[in-house]
């Protein structure tokens, strides 16, 4: 189905802001896959270089100021494109995704059945340890996404995605902050990219719950989307 050559041409992009405590372990867990890893330090007050630069396979890019996760993702994608990557994975720095899910979301790309694969925590059986409020907000998020993008997806804001070069070249993230997740979906629809959703677990550790987006943040995303829609 795929071989190590495929994985060598796959770049895993990890946007990170203040993830000093876990980023090292996240990178260590990813290394055995044999993919290239790009850590985009989004202007953390304390540089993350010591935590990630232990290995040659790991690229470290740093924004001098904090711009937001969307901006960090785009920088990572630009970098991987320049390096000649064939496939791209986006992965959250807080360790909430499982490494084992990466081959599964890459497979449809390797088989050329899709241009972009989005992970969904709602398409797995064992995923419902999400806090109740979080589940409600994510369900509301589906509809918000649908209204803004025209695509109804089961998981509105999942940081785990994979795409091929066509998608990476086509999608341009201009929403610097969290609304980029919706923006990506909108561009999938607009450019008629072939997409697929695949179940992947999200681990709600105390750390990721604490670090992840607060429920209030979803309101901020909503306003970002409305303003963007109204005034470009």
């Amino acid at each position: 189905m795929y071989n190590s050559d495929h994985l060598r041409k796959t770049f895993i992009i990890i946007p990170a802001f203040n993830e000093k405590a876990v980023i090292g372990r996240v990178v260590d867990d990813l290394l055995p896959l044999g993919c290239r890893i790009v850590v985009v330090d989004d202007g953390s007050p304390e540089e993350l270089r010591p935590q990630v630069a232990r290995h040659n396979e790991v690229f470290y890019i740093r924004h001098k100021v904090n711009l937001g996760q969307g901006a960090a993702l785009q920088t990572g994608i630009d970098f991987a494109l320049k390096q000649g990557a064939s496939w791209f994975v986006t992965f959250d720095a807080d360790g909430q995704h499982s490494v084992e899910d990466i081959p599964a979301i890459l497979t449809p790309l390797f088989m050329e059945q899709a241009d972009i694969v989005l992970a969904s925590r709602f398409l797995t059986k064992g995923s419902h340890n999400a806090p109740v409020i979080k589940q409600l907000i994510l369900k509301a998020g589906r509809w918000v996404n649908y209204i803004f993008t025209g695509l109804y997806l089961s998981d509105a804001h999942n940081g785990l995605r994979a795409m091929n070069r066509i998608a990476a070249n086509t999608i341009r993230i201009t929403e610097n902050r969290m609304a980029h997740a919706t923006e990506i979906v909108a561009q999938i629809k607009k450019h008629k990219l072939r997409y697929r959703e695949i179940g992947a677990n999200v681990l709600y550790t105390p750390y990721s719950k604490n670090k992840g987006q607060s429920s209030l943040n979803s309101l901020k995303i909503f306003f970002d989307l409305v303003l963007q829609k109204l005034f470009g």
Binding site: I61, V65, A71, F231
Partner: protein, 112 residues
């Protein structure tokens, strides 16, 4: 002249001076500001004018009319500022991204 007129006129004149000092290169800005300041001074000196305009428009008092208009104007200004901020944000992002990518490229060549 009563108290509030003195306060308002002083404020308008100070704001006007401040802007005239800073905007000496754009004729259009200068004229626009001049018109606005003149209008403000006229309405402060002769509040009855606003009252009669208000009555014609079906608003009870001149002060209310001014209040409604200011809401609309502020709304407009906020939108303009928002667009401006988005533009600036985009410029900053582009510059920062370019810089980050350049640095990453250099780091790679110095390693090999």
């Amino acid at each position: 002249m009563n108290g509030i007129q003195i306060v308002l006129i002083t404020a308008v004149i100070l704001v006007a001076i401040y802007f005239f000092v800073r905007l000496h290169n754009s004729i259009l800005d200068f004229l626009l500001l001049l018109a606005m300041v003149t209008a403000a001074l006229v309405f402060i000196f002769l509040p009855d004018i606003t009252n009669s305009i208000a009555h014609k428009l079906g608003v009870g008092r001149g002060a209310d009319l001014v209040f409604y208009l200011s809401i609309v104007i502020f709304w407009f200004v906020i939108i303009k500022l928002y667009i401006r901020i988005r533009k600036l944000e985009k410029i900053i992002t582009d510059v920062m991204r370019k810089d980050a990518l350049n640095e990453a490229g250099q780091q790679k060549t110095s390693q090999s």
